[in-house]
């Protein structure tokens, strides 16, 4: 009996250390962004599993922001004040992340954003905001570099959704092409969810651009390419920046997605430690290929959980450890550095890929290339 009491006493005394760390997750689990949000959810679930295997049990507090910044913000308030989480992983979209970032700073909660593209998020000198993925400027520069490496484009047309993600990605792309001497012949933002882009595309076609640069989420990506085919828009290359152009749904639409060039944060072609294994296990567990969002979310949760645990659940220590730490995993080498006006930004290596025979094949950088690129874009059938 006495022995039992002793054990009980010891357990009680140790309990603050044994108690699972609370980590918050904000993600778009329903609403229009949900198809991509699902990848993030799955990535985090896989991380949770792996952490458990490592003997690190954590308590995740899930919040669904439905893709709306105001809901994302109230989720952050709740996590920071009511649930007392050590850190937060998420949210998904740029608009939500940007809104939540300022709150994270206010409440001094370390926030690790896995996959939001807008540059400004980590350009405001926020000390508690970290980002795993490469921001929008990298999307633009890696795609345009790929095009100039393969051909001699002189003109470019931009068509993008008029959201944070669309405008910021295309703005940096416009700045970048200016330095390369490529002329912008059309610059068209569109409201998300329009049924008809034909007139806009016909207008772009009349300018006969060498490159067409598109920024859209999944459904519009398919619609835009379908209607490009309809009106016979025929550039040297279609460049799709992130999101909608890197999903399996898009690749499945072979008639219109073939030979479209896009860039991504991650594929399982890379030789980063654990990447191939992650891809295989993800596929086995969820029955579909992981997108880069899944890998970003997985790596973010692994880093956040381990750091939070080592810091003993202290927010300030967690922040300092995130800032000082270096990791090497499915996302390659990760470090949150300050450079080019960014704060706590992981300077991530982007990959350029092309859809060939219905599959995403890495074409650049050459050391990860799986297939030779097709350039210029083949004539529409």
């Amino acid at each position: 009996m006495r022995k039992h009491l002793l054990t009980l006493g010891a357990t009680l005394a140790l309990s603050p250390f044994l108690m699972a760390q609370k980590i918050g997750v904000i993600n778009s689990m329903s609403g229009p962004e949900a198809p991509i949000g699902e990848n993030i959810t799955n990535g985090i679930k896989l991380a949770e599993e792996d952490l458990k295997k490592k003997g690190l049990s954590l308590q995740l507090v899930w919040e669904d922001d439905t893709g709306k910044p105001q809901i994302s913000m109230s989720a952050m308030e709740k996590l920071a004040t009511r649930d007392n989480v050590v850190g937060v992983v998420g949210p998904y979209t740029s608009a939500c992340s940007n809104a939540v970032a300022k709150l994270a700073e206010k409440y001094k909660v370390p926030l690790l954003i896995p996959a939001a593209a807008k540059e400004e998020i980590t350009r405001q000198g926020l000390k508690h905001v970290f980002r795993m993925n490469a921001p929008a400027d990298k999307y633009a520069s890696s795609l345009i570099d790929a095009a100039t490496a393969m051909g001699k484009p002189k003109t470019i047309a931009f068509i993008y959704e008029n959201t944070d993600f669309g405008t910021s990605t295309s703005k940096t792309a416009k700045d970048y092409v200016a330095t390369k001497g490529i002329q912008v012949v059309a610059d068209v933002p569109y409201p998300k969810g329009s049924a008809d882009y034909r007139s806009t595309l016909a207008q772009i076609k009349s300018k006969n651009p060498d490159l067409v640069f598109m920024v859209s989420y999944v459904a519009d990506a398919i619609l835009l390419m379908r209607q490009s085919k309809e009106v016979g828009l025929q550039p040297q290359a279609f460049l799709g920046a992130g999101a909608g152009f890197t999903t399996t749904e898009f690749a499945k639409e072979k008639a219109i997605s073939e030979s479209v060039i896009s860039c991504t944060q991650w594929t399982d072609d890379v030789n980063w430690p654990g990447a191939k294994d992650f891809g295989a296990r993800y596929k086995a567990k969820f029955g579909k290929e992981p997108t880069y969002h899944a890998a970003c979310a997985y790596a973010s949760m692994m880093i956040m959980a381990e750091t939070a645990k080592n810091a003993g659940g202290d927010r300030a220590k967690t922040r300092d450890a995130l800032k000082a730490g270096k990791w090497n995993g499915v996302m390659g080498e990760v470090a949150f550095a300050d450079y080019d006006g960014f704060t706590n930004q992981n300077n991530h290596q982007m990959l350029v890929q092309q859809i060939l025979a219905g599959n995403y094949e890495t074409i650049l950088p050459t050391k990860f290339a799986t297939k030779k690129a097709v350039y210029p874009f083949p004539k529409w059938k």
Partner: protein, 289 residues
């Protein structure tokens, strides 16, 4: 010139489908004086119905209109009989709340069943087009859907003008009490009108689905559009809704080219406000005093 023609043609084709949505709403309003805020959601149900029929039975979306139309008619009739008929004499805000509630139930039920994933119907002609010369192309699925819309609209005119039931519906729309005194079963006419309105919205959903994408919240966009179209054309006027639909289609398409894609909604609403300012009853509306 090619750009102008291209945007005019796609504007008219898209406008045809808008017209179909508007006609459904205007019919319901005309007969019942109930503003149906669930109209877009009924359209969404039609889209999912088409999706199920296409993926499970392999029936082409355009052919499936033959199944969607009667099913959506029954669905609309059911809604009218069970819900709307009860609030016909209630305050307008209660009617609005009821239809908004019905719409929410529909979109959330669909979300529970199908999740919020975007569905895209891929048919063999999804990205096919016909070259009409001068660099102008016409989307094949859009052209087919326009032709079907035109056929349905013509059939509807015939029904409303020539048949007894059609005349009874128009009589109910003109004066509910007088129609009842003349021995018209106005409750039954209401059920038929709501059924027809729903069937038209559902058909519009079926016709859009090969060229658009399907998700549970898609209705909101179209509810708003349907309102603009009906108010623009004149509440309760079928001809007005047809005109309004095509006008909105062309305006959207033209302003996307000559102003900016991002501003096209602004242009549509400015046009809408101008019409309301100078002709408050809408293009074809008779003010009811």
């Amino acid at each position: 010139m090619a750009v102008f023609m291209q945007s005019l043609i796609s504007g008219i084709l898209i406008g045809g489908v808008y017209a179909l949505i508007g006609i459904g709403l205007t019919l319901i309003f005309g007969v019942m004086r109930v503003i149906n805020f669930a109209h877009g959601d009924i359209l969404m149900v039609g889209m999912y119905l088409t999706y199920i029929i296409f993926t499970m039975l392999g029936i082409d979306p355009f052919v499936s209109v033959l199944i969607t139309f009667p099913l959506m008619f029954l669905f609309g009739g059911f809604l009218q009989k069970v819900f709307i008929n009860r609030v016909l004499n209630a305050l307008a805000q209660n009617q609005i709340l009821l239809t908004i509630g019905l719409g929410l139930i529909m979109s959330n039920t669909v979300m529970l069943i199908f999740t919020s994933d975007y569905k895209i119907l891929t048919t063999s002609y999804s990205s096919a087009s016909i070259q009409v010369g001068g660099g102008v192309s016409v989307s094949t699925p859009l052209l087919i859907s326009f032709l079907i819309t035109a056929a349905i609209t013509a059939a509807l005119y015939w029904f409303l003008l020539k048949t007894d039931t059609g005349q009874a519906i128009r009589a109910t729309a003109q004066d509910r009490d007088a129609a009842q005194l003349m021995g018209i079963n106005v409750k039954r006419m209401s059920i038929i009108a709501f059924g027809l309105g729903s069937a038209l919205a559902g058909t519009a959903g079926a016709l859009i689905s090969p060229t658009y994408y399907i998700f549970p919240q898609v209705g909101g966009v179209f509810t708003l559009k349907a309102f603009v179209i009906t108010v623009l054309g004149g509440m309760g006027s079928v001809v007005g809704a047809t005109l309004g639909g095509i006008l909105i289609g062309i305006t959207e398409s033209m302003s996307a080219v000559y102003i900016s894609s991002g501003w096209k909604d602004v242009v549509v609403f400015v046009l809408f406000l101008l019409v309301l300012l100078f002709k408050p009853s809408g293009l074809m509306g008779k003010s009811r005093t």
